[in-house]
Amino acid sequence: MSAPRRPTAPAVKALESRKRFALSHKVAPPKGNYRWVYLWEWPIRTMHWIAVLCIVTLATTGFYIGRPYFMTSGEASSHYLMGWVRFIHFAAAGVLVATAVIRFYWLFAGNQYERWPALFPVRPRDWVNLVKQIKFYLLITPEEAPTYLGHNPLQQLSYTAMYGVALVQVLTGFAMYGQSNPGGFFYATTDWIVRLFGGIQPVHFVHHVLTWWFIIFVPFHLYLAIRADHMERTGTISSIISGGRFVNKDIDYVDSDIV
């Protein structure tokens, strides 16, 4: 690439004036030696989008169950609104559990970015990078983000926490589900949860409150994905569709070695 030409005097003046409106500067496209890394294999991508559908469905139907915000009128026998909403909730719950089972299998069968060690920031350098990553987001040292191909330690923590919350949601969900058939399979297998929480009402409460956790996760997740895509210019968002992103060959990625 040729070096920029020395600007002429009027051009400098024009540029100087423009400089004051820094926001209008065009950002130079990324330069360097790029390669495409394949991170998320198709099972992970499929699971991601199925989980999105399930969670949206579950949160919507769940909040209806929690507070029926519209009602029917006329004869009870001609409606089955809550019945259907609950049916959809349970069906989506079943799909979510099925994807979770496959995800669990993929913790052992997936590639190095998908396997279980990639979910836990337990190496000493991860802790150092975790602090760096937090400083990066707090705009304290905004130029020095640790470079990860897969998930950085902060992402590892928050996504693993998401899995944890989803697990609690599934467990509390089945605990409530089991109540209609005492002595049945779900009742027997989730009895300990009801005891642990000290009754079924606290189970409802936890299930209800954790739904907000999912909802609060959405703006963070979307924002950080869009932000990364916008600032790093490596096609991050595309990676959950195509599976990979473009990264600079010259950068030493922290997690190119994890197993």
């Binding site: 690439m1 790029y34 029926p68 609104l81 109540q179």
Partner: protein, 382 residues
């Protein structure tokens, strides 16, 4: 009810002979046995067996202890519009020791207790209403100078069966609600070496007590229990799954205020805090006061009184979910959740702006380049 002492059931008399003496017809008695058999969830083919066993049964010795309680259970169990055969069976039960109903007073009563225990070791049925305070050596409930714990332990030691009646005897009920100042606990927390049947509720349905006793008299053992010691025949399914308003629940028709159209039409009380979905009890079927009514039938949401810890876990009684404690302002989980979600969105928006400002500043520090000059794409080889 008929005073227990007015037509005593003499020791040695069978129940059949006693009921005949009281003017109960054979037909009425068989009807009663049929009802009890159905209530216990047994096949109707067993009715003759129940009838035969009950007819032959000898007067059982029964001790009824009232500990830390309000006597509401006694009311619920014994008071009905007209005396039924069930009441007569329960009259029998109150014979040996029931300090509220007994004609005797003072030392005579305490002597009756001691004598009954001594004369019927391993044979008597022990009914208990009320909880046992354990704090400060149990001084918060004493009868004739002895603590509730002391009396209970003594009476339980030689009992053939122990039936804890009501939420207090089950787990402590209102006096055990947070912060439980007297350290009140249920019978099963004191008596650990014997099975305790919990006929729970605040108060429980009299028929369930009767049916449990009938089961014991007929089969010589207590009915099958759930993990919390409650008889399965009564506490085996949720109110919500037997509720006459359930069709409205499934249809999406809810009472929103106690004087609205839905309330008049008898719609589901879910929205105004009904705990039927969280409560195991036979209320919709057995009902109260000789099947006159029951809370949901009368338009009031269930408060979940047959569940352990209900004063704390089922509160607020007119709201679906527990309140978030510890806040000066009463805020529900949803207000907080919504606040956080809005806060998160505002937070990321603010962060986006901060990032933009930061980038703009950083860019200003860069050397000036001719940005209008066509540059090569950064992708690919340089």
């Amino acid at each position: 009810m008929l005073a227990p002492t007015s037509h005593p059931w003499a020791a040695g008399d069978s129940l059949g002979a006693y009921l005949t003496k009281r003017g109960v017809s054979r037909r009425d008695f068989l009807t009663f046995c049929g009802e009890m058999t159905a209530m216990l969830g047994l096949s109707s083919a067993l009715t003759p067996k129940v009838a035969a066993a009950l007819t032959a049964v000898k007067r059982p010795s029964v001790i009824w202890l009232q500990l830390q309680e309000c006597t509401g259970c006694v009311e619920s169990v014994l008071r009905t519009a007209e005396p039924t055969i069930g009441d007569l069976v329960l009259d029998v039960i109150s014979l040996d020791y029931q300090h509220t109903l007994m004609a005797a007073a003072g030392h005579a009563v305490e002597k009756a207790l001691a004598d009954t225990i001594a004369a019927n070791k391993g044979q008597y049925v022990l009914l208990v209403t009320g909880s046992v305070p354990t704090k400060d050596d149990g001084i918060y409930c004493t009868i004739a100078g002895r603590t509730a714990r002391d009396i209970l332990e003594e009476a339980a030691a030689d009992a053939a069966a122990i039936i804890a009646i009501g939420a207090c005897a089950h787990w402590g009920s209102v006096q055990a609600a947070r912060p439980n100042p007297t350290g009140a606990v249920g019978v099963a927390e004191i008596i650990k070496n014997k099975p305790v049947v919990n006929v729970t509720g605040c108060p429980p349905i009299g028929d369930v007590v009767t049916a449990t006793v009938v089961h014991f008299l007929t089969f010589g053992r207590v009915p099958d229990l759930d993990p919390d010691g409650r008889p399965m025949f009564a506490y085996g399914s949720r109110i919500h799954d037997q509720c006459p308003r359930r069709a409205h629940y499934d249809a999406g028709q809810y009472v929103e205020a106690f004087d609205d159209e839905g309330a008049r039409k008898g719609w589901c009380l879910y929205h105004v805090g009904c705990k039927g979905p969280a409560t195991f009890s036979p209320c919709p079927i057995f009902q109260w006061n000789t099947r006159t009514s029951w809370p949901i039938g009368a338009g009031h949401p269930c408060i979940g009184c047959t569940e352990r810890g209900f004063w704390d876990t089922m509160a607020p009684f007119y709201g679906r979910l527990p309140d978030v404690g510890g806040f000066p302002v009463e805020r529900t989980a949803d207000t907080i959740g919504l606040g956080l979600a809005v806060g998160a969105t505002a937070g990321v928006a603010a962060h986006a702006i901060a990032t933009g400002i930061h980038q703009a500043r950083a860019r200003r520090k860069l050397p000036v380049v001719d940005i209008d000059k066509k540059e090569e794409s950064g992708h690919g080889q340089d």
